[in-house]
């Protein structure tokens, strides 16, 4: 992976933690939407919804309308989410099989999915299912979600160890879907992908981070369109 950010010095300010990334991503989830959260940072979004926002959570294994998890040791194996955790039974929940679950996804009925990523390219290509050197990986529902959800938000750390960029010109890892990502929330920036105009727009930075600081840790060229806000 070509990477211009490799030789940088220390970060100018602390990075957001995983919870803060999730909290910022959660701000972009609209009340009443049907939402699928991937495992890892995306799943944490559910803990940080703005007041008054209620989402209809979908999980690939055939459940819509779940909320909090059961207490440890109290979960029912027949009431699972796609991450293998056991939610509580709550009013309005619905169960269905995998045929219907993926008809919902593939048919474009998921309003937003929040996913993790290994790489995102400037035009919104996503790689998130296999590290080439391992040679084997798990696709699960990621390709269906990335290709077909109305909006795809990536929530991830901005760099891998050694400041290697994950936001790149071209993905070098096996792809999950092409031109699918709409926005990226990381520990240092909120970035919008403007596919129509072939631009990656920096919308916000973490406190104490400048445009140049973020650009230096990003292989793909960022642009500005209006004010750059502060992530919160």
């Amino acid at each position: 992976m070509s990477n211009s950010a490799n030789s940088l010095g220390n970060d100018p300010a602390p990075r957001l933690d995983r919870a803060a990334i999730a909290k910022r991503a959660a701000r972009d989830l609209i009340d009443g939407s049907t939402v699928n959260l991937g495992i890892g940072i995306p799943a944490l979004c559910a803990d940080f919804l703005p007041d008054g926002v209620e989402l209809l959570y979908h999980a690939e294994n055939g459940i819509l309308g779940f909320k909090e998890l059961s207490a440890p040791g109290e979960g029912d194996p027949n009431l699972m989410d796609a991450g293998g955790k056991f939610p509580k039974l709550v009013p309005g929940m619905a169960f269905f099989d995998s045929v219907e679950s993926f008809a919902l996804i593939r048919g474009g009925h998921i309003d937003v999915t929040v996913l993790g990523a290994l790489q995102v390219s400037r035009n919104g290509d996503l790689s998130n299912w296999m590290i080439p050197k391992r040679g084997i990986g798990s696709i699960g529902g990621a390709m269906d979600l990335a290709a077909n959800a109305k909006k795809v938000i990536i929530a991830m750390e901005h760099n891998v160890k050694g400041n290697l960029a994950k936001i790149v010109n071209e993905c070098t890892f096996p792809l999950t879907a092409r031109t699918c990502v709409n926005e990226i929330i990381t520990d240092i920036a909120a970035i919008e992908i403007d596919q129509e105009n072939d631009r990656m727009i920096l919308r916000e930075t973490a406190p104490g981070w400048s445009f140049d600081d973020v650009q230096a840790r990003t292989e793909a060229r960022l642009t500005i369109d209006g004010d750059v806000g502060q992530m919160a």
Partner: protein, 265 residues
């Protein structure tokens, strides 16, 4: 990312959203007339059920007729045969069927599997309109019709089916062999609106069906841009057994409650 994005999601920035949140999501229409009021002339409209009274969105159909818009394309299944034959209606009631849109001159096309009864005496409204050159009738095998509707909702643009090979419905269609058998390529079928019928809705829009009233309703709910459902009962979330939800709330845009004791089935 799909190119089509709901306005409510993409056009709402954080500031607008704060305002929008004050308004609870309300899918419940106050009347059948209100629920269909924005259906324009020229619209394509799926009508649920199988044919017969059970599962037919009869009140929504009557409201659409009263709305008076024209040049409609209707997508149904068994269509317009009850009025002359009594098909699927209790003996003591006068049947109401999809023929009403052809009697009124509102519909100029129907796509369905069963547009005419066995007898031509008296002529059904659809056959009459067809004979007079006022309506196009597109006859599709029932299994192909429902699978095309299901495909539209499920993100499948086209599929191969064995049904219809060697018959008039195969004309002009792509043929292809798999494992030595010949199949036809059939494409997804969508519509602007779906008018459907369920027994019960919760306020979010989850639906419960009863008995054989499912038929074309669940698939049509997934396939149209706007889905409007006519129900006998509306309950709070949790008022439908989560094991019995036949249509997920995600697919339902508008709910209209029938009057208690409505004499129509």
């Amino acid at each position: 990312m799909r190119t089509k994005i709901q306005q409510s999601v993409s056009d709402t920035n954080v500031k607008d959203r704060t305002i929008w949140l004050a308004v609870p999501i309300n899918k419940i229409s106050n009347s059948f007339a209100q629920a269909v009021a924005d259906i324009p002339s020229g619209a394509s409209i799926m009508i649920g059920g199988f044919g017969g009274a059970g599962g037919q969105p009869t009140r929504l159909m009557l409201a659409l007729r009263d709305l008076g818009v024209g040049d409609l394309t209707i997508i149904g299944n068994v269509a317009g045969i009850s009025k002359t034959t009594g098909y699927g209606w209790p003996d003591h009631l006068d049947p109401i069927d999809q023929g009403m849109f052809f009697e009124s001159g509102q519909a100029t096309k129907i796509t369905c599997s069963f547009p005419v009864p066995g007898t031509t005496n008296p002529l059904s409204d659809i056959e009459k309109a067809w004979r007079e050159g006022k309506a196009e009738v597109d006859i599709v095998p029932q299994g192909t019709l429902i699978e095309r509707i299901r495909a539209a909702g499920a993100g499948i643009p086209a599929f191969y089916t064995p049904t219809g090979v060697g018959t008039p419905v195969a004309e002009g269609k792509e043929h292809r062999d798999f494992d030595g058998r010949t199949f036809l390529l059939e494409e997804a079928l969508t519509a602007d609106f779906a008018l459907i019928r369920a027994q019960k809705a919760d306020t979010r829009g989850n639906l419960q069906y009863i008995g054989t009233s499912r038929a074309f309703n669940p698939a049509m709910a997934t396939a149209a841009a706007i889905t409007i459902v006519e129900v006998d009962e509306i309950v709070e979330p949790g008022g439908i057994d989560p094991e019995r939800i036949g249509t997920l709330s995600t697919y339902v845009d508008r709910i209209v409650l029938r009057e208690t004791g409505d004499p129509l089935p």
